[in-house]
Amino acid sequence: MTGQPFPYLLLPTFWSARNRARRREPGDSARMMLFGGIGVGVAAAIFAVVFWLTWQLDYYEELGDYLIRLGLSWLFLTFLSFLSFSGIVTALSTFFLSEDLRLLVAAPVAPARLFYSCFAKTVAQASWMVATFMGPVLLAVGLARCAGPLYYVAGLSSLLPFVVIPVALGSMVTLLLVNVFPARRARDVLMLMGLLFAVSLVVMLRFLRPERLLDVQTLPDVTAFFATLQSPVTPLLPSFWAGETVFSGLQGGVDWLHAGALWTTALAFTVIARAAFGRYYFSGWSKAQEARKARFTRLRALDTLAHSLPVRPLGRSLLLKDLKVFLRDTTQWSQLLLLLALVLVYLYNFRVLDLERIPYMGAMVKNVYAFVNLAMASFVMSAVAVRFVFPAVSAEGPAFWIIRSAPVPMRSFLWSKFWTGLVPILVLSEALTVVSNRFLGADPFLRVLGAVAIFFMTFALVGLATGMGAQHPRFNAENTTQVAGSYGGIAFMVLAVLYILAMIALLAWPSSLYLWHRFREDPVPALDRAWMVLCGLLAIGLSAATFWAPMQKGIRSLEEMG
């Protein structure tokens, strides 16, 4: 074994991927087509935009070249920060938490081989998204500028050292962290840091108010604008070297200095990381295995709260268990931070939306927006439901035997999951709709309609998510994200979107009729009134069916399990 080169240790990863591809589960093809289609669509869109931009910049000669050069450096700089963080998180998993490590560490495998195999996995896992995104960008620039083969060689040869440098650095940070904290605690810290990073990025980008760029009066003068852009691109960063190497390839030359800097730094970082891991890996690994006394919050307030609720002991037990398990799992509750940020950005958009700029149409556009708002709030709700409610049954995991062997009717169990999911989502969706309609200044009739409609829609969508989650459980899933991305999760999203569109159609048309007659100060004719009532009844019926049928099917499915 000790004589085998390090790629031998990567064989199980390849074999597992091959076996997964061979043994398909129901719905795999549909999922692959959907996600593959989305992926190809995004890549095509990126390609088209970058191609068009590069093509346009060609008209500006020197300024165009300058902007492409600057753009490449900025692109590489963005990815450098992403890769540094991604490297830290991935290294924690590949070097310290991966299940196969116990086998490998116990086997007579030379430390250097173990390091190189783990490092190769880290580089691949941390950078595949960057490589996938860079592909269409570099291809579009090359094709728009009719670049020669040197450009493509430069692009490909820069990518590897460019990703190795931040990942090596990230791995060393992880090594340090694991030697200070236990690995599982470090994972929580990193998870939280990552989410805060994402949240601050989203909030910062929105609060920069990019829409101001469309307002010519507020644009700064061009020199000041470029001066601002240029300042963070420092020649000491690998992103600058990669940008320069690729740009010189685009010009038909070879920038040996920056290409050399990239490769030598990548090699040096790998050697340093290898030495650091040789020295400190085993102590970190050993710490990661120690079962430290788990720290957690008692959440006694929840006990008090649950006991004050007028529910049966069974319902109380299930509610308390679900809440405590959720709140003690950092990977679960921390995602609420991201959700909160998105909601803030969503509401902020309505706050700054300036519809008064459209003089005579303001009122009408506002009313149309009220329905767009209803649809958007429902989509947000569906996304929250697929992430938190749909996996509720699957989240029982291998411990589901406890419920199934207890004298608990599956009906009570599933209804408990429904109510636990419904209450927070109802509060969120009502708040979202009411506040955004207020910011928007929508007609009072539409504000009331929106609040009532979202009430029914929340019941329907939470019922759909709970019921479908029970019909398509994945008790062996490693995390809830996997459950949300399963065949059942995708089927839920498709049905949810169809339901939302149908509801919007059923509500928007009669509302427009009513507002039209009110605007003209006409009484609503009897036939139109009948249509409005019919649409209302259809909307209620559709919501009731969407809520009730999946719940009943879910209960039956749980009862017939095994």
Binding site: P313, R316, S317, K321, R328, W401, G562
Partner: protein, 250 residues
């Protein structure tokens, strides 16, 4: 207390459990033995209400599991072979939750909880998260849960897996104590010494069918040997006698 009649479980063309019938009386410890893949765990999981049988009937304390599942399960405690529990709950919270599933609530549960934790030597771990427990501790916690609601019948799948000698002795004592108080225990195990030492009667299952049943004495007679140990009798009955010869040759 536990009555199983003509139980059959098929997975497509494969019959995992083939016409199994057994009865465990109150206070009896009934051993359920068989080679790997013989159908022990499948049978136990059907009796626990985790699997639906293809045909046959299971009655717990006179309640039919198919028609009165809740009533039947209320009299039953189940200890699975692998102790999967909610990792993010403390031992105390898990037991309170478990009690809630069986309708136990209010102040009464606190006293009972302290009793079972004391019984299985987990009192000082009551406030700790399950994720920090060893396998053996989790196994003992599952046993606490199984006995918490004072069941009249208990199903145990491989009780000694992962337990240290002290834990194993403790479990044996608890089972004997419970059996003396009238609890019926159906126990599947590979540890033949445990079966020999504890069980009043033993059923041996092979390829989904019960091939022998009785006391250790009965089985010994059936195998036609005078050995005192159960292992050679088991190997003879299940067709694994050759294994013992190989073992001796080695």
């Amino acid at each position: 207390m536990i009555l199983v009649e003509n139980l059959v479980k098929k997975y497509g063309a494969f019959t995992a459990v083939d016409d199994v019938s057994l009865e465990v009386a109150p206070g009896e410890i009934h051993g359920f033995l068989g080679p790997n893949g013989a159908g022990k765990t499948t049978t136990i999981r059907i009796i626990a209400g985790l699997l639906k049988p293809t045909s046959g009937r299971v009655l717990i304390d006179g309640q039919d599991l198919a028609t009165s599942a809740e009533a039947a399960k209320a009299s039953l405690g189940f200890i699975p072979d692998r102790p999967f529990i909610y990792e993010k709950l403390t031992a105390g919270e898990f037991l309170r939750f478990h009690g809630g599933l069986y309708g136990m609530d209010g102040d009464g549960i606190g006293h009972r909880l302290a009793e079972v934790l004391e019984l299985f030597e987990l009192t000082r771990w009551e406030g700790e998260l399950v994720e920090s427990f060893s396998h053996g501790m989790k196994q003992r916690l599952v046993m606490c849960a199984a006995f918490l609601h004072r069941p009249r019948a208990v199903l145990v799948d491989e009780p000694m897996v992962g337990l240290d000698p002290r834990g194993a002795r403790l479990i044996k004592q608890v089972f004997r104590h419970m059996s003396a108080r009238g609890v019926a225990i159906l126990m599947s195990t590979h540890t033949l010494e445990v079966a020999q030492e504890m069980c009043d009667r033993i059923s041996i299952i092979q390829r989904g069918r019960i091939i022998a049943r009785g006391t250790v004495e009965d089985l010994r007679r059936l195998a036609g040997g005078a050995d005192e140990q159960l292992t050679p009798v088991f190997l003879k009955l299940t067709g694994g006698a050759g294994l013992q010869e190989i073992d001796e040759d080695l």
